[in-house]
Amino acid sequence: MKRSGVIWSWFWMILGILYFFLPLVATFLFSLRAKLGVLSFLAYTQLFHDSNFIKDFSFSVLWGLLTIIVGIVIFVPTAFWVRLKVPQVRTAVEFVTLLPFVIPAIVFVFGLVRTFSHPPFLIVNSPALLIAGYIVLSMPYMYRSIDTGLRSIDVRTLTEAGQSLGAGWGTILFRIILPNIRVAILSGAFLSFAIVMGEYILAQYLAKPAFAPFLAYLIQEKAYEPAAATIISFALTWACMGIIQLVGRGGPQAQLAGGH
């Protein structure tokens, strides 16, 4: 590589670093300005004393955990069974798991609300619909993570070994397969968690308490608390991605349309 090339490389990298960090630095500085004339953590203190923040944030955490658990219960047996017994439906399953990329989140919610807000399926007010929606939005990431995990182990041999030792399907799934792909499941889980924590559209239009709608409301009402909340949200994204890299030692994953 010629010398001028290296200089250009540094130029683009520095530009990228600035693009990445400037909005965060600005938000952080903004969050310290709550007390006139001095820098302080007042905005954070006020935020943590806001009972709505605590409530909505906790609900988002709860939605995230439920999404992960129910998602694992649906996707792990499916991916396992497809690999072991019915490889001919693989294409169909993969097609379905990629559908959320084709259907923008706002269109998906539009369909959900229109479908489930009148009989015979009047469940628009149930948290179950919200969780189902979150599972759909995180499905491309969750399913792909699990499937990648299964590809890296010898599913057939492990299953047959389990069977010849007298294990039932439950034991095989939860005590043999699941522990063997826990790294893949974890990375899918943390990505799903990050998606749920940042997701605005579903919670907003299904009228459920969640962090992102709270933040949107805060931006309308206050000046400095939303900055503090944004920093917290960013730290959370960073933590989720960091854990994925730590446990997975794999490449980082990107989120598509869903949360934007």
């Binding site: 499916t78 990329f101 084709v102 369909g111 759909v136 239009y205 349309a257």
Partner: protein
């Protein structure tokens, strides 16, 4: 043909025919049931509603016709497409330059891994918090605006507006270029060093190397990834909504309004509007898949 052969061939049919029907597929029923109920069926109601009179439920093309005749709605598609093109191209080129610099630019190796980590975070950092981060940076009372004012340059005196098309493009680029970096990196890895050395040995200039070797190989990946970026911003809603307070005329924003209350005064029109988005996305994702498959030829 000997008798022994005939006997051998006939032998299996003497046993009872193995049952063709297998119960194994029952194992995937829960998944398909879930997907049908919460994804396929709700989405299909959009397609059905688009070709249905909202009151009589009779089949009609009226909704599509009305959509195409409404200048405001056509314009919302146009603005959404324009912002997606601009940010796919801008974010795509910037992302490619970043990825190439970090992989083949002669930088220390840790730059690559840090870049990938940053990009993993940044492409997931979107929606409401992202909008606020740029409000803190570039709004009239934002931090960068303050710094620029201090050195005597107020961007707001020079036609800059955060809450308009170009402002939103800058914000979208924040989640566009990291996605480009992550998706294009394997393609850049696939560019063998030998190809550069070979073309240099044959006396090619760096322009000729790019024009005749690197670019033709990378082109399917570059275009495919940029189409992916196009879809990424075409479906975006929360960022634009939080930044402009719903004041910008994007398709997603109009659908959001329609969902809150029938602002178009025509339920069928709302369905058609949503269906149009799915059509655009389906075209984009199909193109991406085709191009990705083409690029894999070189990148083994």
């Amino acid at each position: 043909m000997t008798t022994a052969n005939v006997v051998k061939r006939d032998a299996p049919s003497a046993r009872p025919a193995p049952s063709k029907f297998s119960w194994a597929w029952v194992g995937v029923v829960p998944f398909f049931l879930f997907a049908f109920m919460f994804l396929v069926y709700p989405s299909s109601t959009i397609a059905v509603g688009s070709f249905e009179n909202a009151t009589t439920h009779a089949f009609t093309f009226q909704n599509i016709v009305h959509l195409l005749q409404d200048p405001n709605l056509v314009n919302s598609y146009w603005i959404s497409i324009k912002i997606s093109l601009v940010t796919a191209l801008g974010g795509g080129i910037f992302g490619f330059l970043l990825a190439y610099s970090s992989i083949r630019g002669g930088l220390p190796p840790f730059m690559r891994s840090s870049l990938m980590t940053f990009c993993g975070v940044a492409s997931n950092f979107a929606g409401i918090p992202l909008a606020f981060a740029f409000i803190a940076l570039l709004s009239p009372s934002g931090v960068l605006t303050g710094w620029l004012r201090a050195i005597g340059y107020n961007p707001y005196f020079h036609g800059f507006q955060l809450y308009t098309f170009w402002g939103l493009s800058i914000v979208y680029t924040y989640f566009q270029f990291p996605l480009m970096v992550l998706v294009i990196a394997p393609a850049i890895d696939g560019l063998r060093r030998e190809w550069l050395e070979a073309s240099e040995n044959l006396g090619a200039s760096s322009f000729q190397y790019w024009r005749f070797v690197a670019l033709p190989i990378l082109l399917p990946s570059l275009m495919g990834t940029m189409i992916l970026l196009f879809g990424n911003s075409f479906g975006a809603f929360a960022t634009a909504f939080a930044l402009t307070g719903g004041q910008i005329n994007l398709v997603t924003i109009v659908i959001g309004d329609q969902l809150r209350g029938d602002v178009l005064g025509d339920a069928g029109l709302g369905y058609a509007l949503a269906l149009g988005m799915v059509v655009v996305m389906a075209i984009a994702i199909s193109l991406y898949t085709v191009l990705q498959r083409r690029s894999e030829r070189w990148l083994r």
